[in-house]
């Protein structure tokens, strides 16, 4: 009985957490897309500053990592393709797995590490030092003031970063293609682009927007739930990273299944 009770309690906790995420995401979405038409200010300046931090400053590390991932993908797929004498399909394999899956996912994971954790730490510190309370007593909505600019920055920057990641992955793959598979750089890139349908790219980008919402909601929710002292901020940050990675994989699964059954391919 105790086990059943524990499972039940776990499920209820999980569902109520999802509910809290949905509420926070929904409020941020409201202040981003509907609020501005009802006279509520959208803080473009703050959103741009966030976009700079979330997006532009992530480029060097993202480029390096996705370049390596592309190269690894090429090596791994060549291992199998070589047996069929189909080494010239390396470009297809890299292009499709980057755009459909690894580009969005690796981007999301890097953004979680850089920004999801930073959101939780920033908002958590503000919670502990009563700055969130101060906002409320000044009649400033903390979600509108703090979460919405992050939300906007994330849903704009994640697709951009994903496109960048896809390209860097293909360039990484081309290194193998040129050195080992008789491609020239231009031919490798052309083969990659020929292998892609618009659908592959778009489904990846849709997923990346969803990842952006998820990461923002989890990071900010963990920050807002911080209670107690400074040591709790560290705990919130850790939780934000772990839960974000889990949630991103979950969202990935749901959308990949959705695309699979709806798209037929």
């Amino acid at each position: 009985m105790a086990i059943v009770r524990q499972i039940g309690a776990g499920v209820i906790d999980g569902l109520s957490y999802l509910g809290a995420l949905a509420i926070l995401g929904g409020r941020a979405g409201y202040f981003t897309f509907i609020g501005p038409f009802q006279g509520k200010r959208l803080r473009i300046g703050r959103a741009m500053a966030q976009a700079m931090e979330v997006g532009v400053r992530a480029l060097p590390i993202l480029s390096l990592i996705t370049f390596f991932i592309g190269l690894i993908l090429a090596l791994q797929s060549a291992y199998e393709l070589k047996r069929f004498g189909a080494l010239n399909f390396v470009a297809n394999a890299v292009a499709i797995s980057m755009t459909r899956e690894l580009g969005p996912l690796i981007t999301a994971i890097i953004v979680i590490g850089r920004s999801g954790s930073a959101f939780a730490a920033e908002i958590g510190t503000m919670k502990v030092t009563e700055e969130i309370d101060a906002l409320e007593t000044m009649a400033i909505n903390p979600v509108q003031f703090l979460v919405t600019p992050k939300f906007l920055a994330m849903i704009l920057m994640l697709p951009c970063l994903t496109i960048w990641a896809n390209s860097m992955g293909m360039i990484g793959g081309s290194v193998f293609g040129v050195l080992q598979a008789d491609f020239t750089f231009v031919r490798y890139i052309r083969a990659s682009l020929d292998a892609l349908f618009l659908r592959d790219v778009v489904t990846g980008l849709i997923k990346s927007v969803m990842f952006g919402m998820t990461i923002t909601a989890v990071g900010c929710l963990e920050g807002l739930r911080t209670d107690g002292g400074a040591e709790q901020v560290g705990r919130s940050t850790t939780r934000a990273v772990v839960i974000s990675i889990f949630m991103v994989i979950l969202v990935d699964l749901v959308f990949t299944m959705l695309f699979f059954f709806l798209g037929g391919k």
Binding site: T125, M126, V128, D133, T137
Partner: protein, 286 residues
């Protein structure tokens, strides 16, 4: 309870209540912290809410500014029951109050000037140049002229509190709340903050509500005092009335008599659970 109406010094001030609290009860994760608080805060007076750690005084203050939701009871402010109004109405009232938090709660990512100007930028349509002048005025009032460009991390504890008061004053509030204004400050700096409160009182005739356990500071700034113990109002009256009170709890608090030593483990646990500090209290004592 001590009768208030006999105070002659206060006759100059209005008899009209600014805040009316009626049978206010607040529970925190299932445990009741305030067990039915009732009192009025008059317009233009400085009321000090006294009480030990875990007495519920901070919870009372947080409820008055709408940061905690009461389980029952009423808080009347500006003709509205603050405990049961829509978010939009609550925000309208909040624009007319100012709150200075224990640690200042200045936004670390903004300069002092940006901190003070934030409520003005959010809630008014004023020109930047006007806002700049108002920020300078507010900083002058708290004795921080010329500190607009400083970041909060560059300020000392006392200066942070002054900057926080300047931010609380930004919207020219009718009611000003202070949470432990002298907590964590040395006696000289704390006396400076007391002086600042007295100056504000004299200059603007604002209604000021201060939560503290510092007796010296309380006697200096208060028109009236409320003593809270374990979530109940024990006594209320003018400074003189409190000093002359014979109520055992008032005497214990004012004469700094410690709680009797606890012999039994069970009694100790009982005492702890009755007067367990809230997380935010523990935070302040860090």
């Amino acid at each position: 309870m001590v009768n208030v109406a006999q105070d002659h010094d206060r006759r100059a001030k209005s008899n009209e209540p600014m805040i009316s609290i009626r049978d206010l009860r607040v529970a925190y994760s299932g445990r009741e912290i305030l067990h039915g608080i009732t009192f009025d805060v008059m317009k233009g007076e400085t009321l000090v809410i006294l009480g030990g750690s875990g007495s519920g005084k901070s919870t009372l203050l947080r409820t008055l500014v709408g940061l905690e939701k009461p389980t029952s009871g009423e808080v009347w402010m500006a003709g509205k029951n603050f405990a049961q109004i829509s978010d939009a109405e609550r925000d309208e009232i909040r624009k007319r109050i100012g709150m200075s938090f224990q640690g200042g709660a200045l936004f670390g990512s903004m300069s002092v000037g940006e901190n003070v100007s934030l409520p003005l930028r959010e809630h008014t349509q004023l020109e930047d140049s006007t806002i700049e002048i108002m920020v300078r005025l507010k900083l002058d009032q708290v004795g921080l002229s010329g500190f607009e460009q400083f970041m909060p991390s560059q300020l000392s504890g006392g200066m942070k509190k002054r900057a926080a008061v300047a931010r609380a004053l930004a919207m020219d509030p009718e009611i000003l709340f202070f949470d432990e204004p002298s907590a964590g400050l040395d006696p000289i700096i704390a006396a400076g903050i007391d002086q600042l409160i007295l100056e504000l009182k004299k200059a603007f005739h604002m209604t000021i509500i201060v939560v503290t356990h510092e007796l010296a500071s309380a006697f200096l700034i208060a028109d009236r005092m409320v003593l809270i113990n374990k979530g109940d109002v024990v006594a209320m009256g003018t400074v003189k009335e409190m000093q002359n009170s014979t109520h055992p709890k008032v005497r214990q608090f004012l004469d700094r008599i410690p709680e009797p030593a606890v012999a039994q483990e069970l009694d100790y646990l009982q005492m702890l659970t009755e007067a367990q500090p809230r997380p935010s209290d523990a935070r302040g004592k860090r």
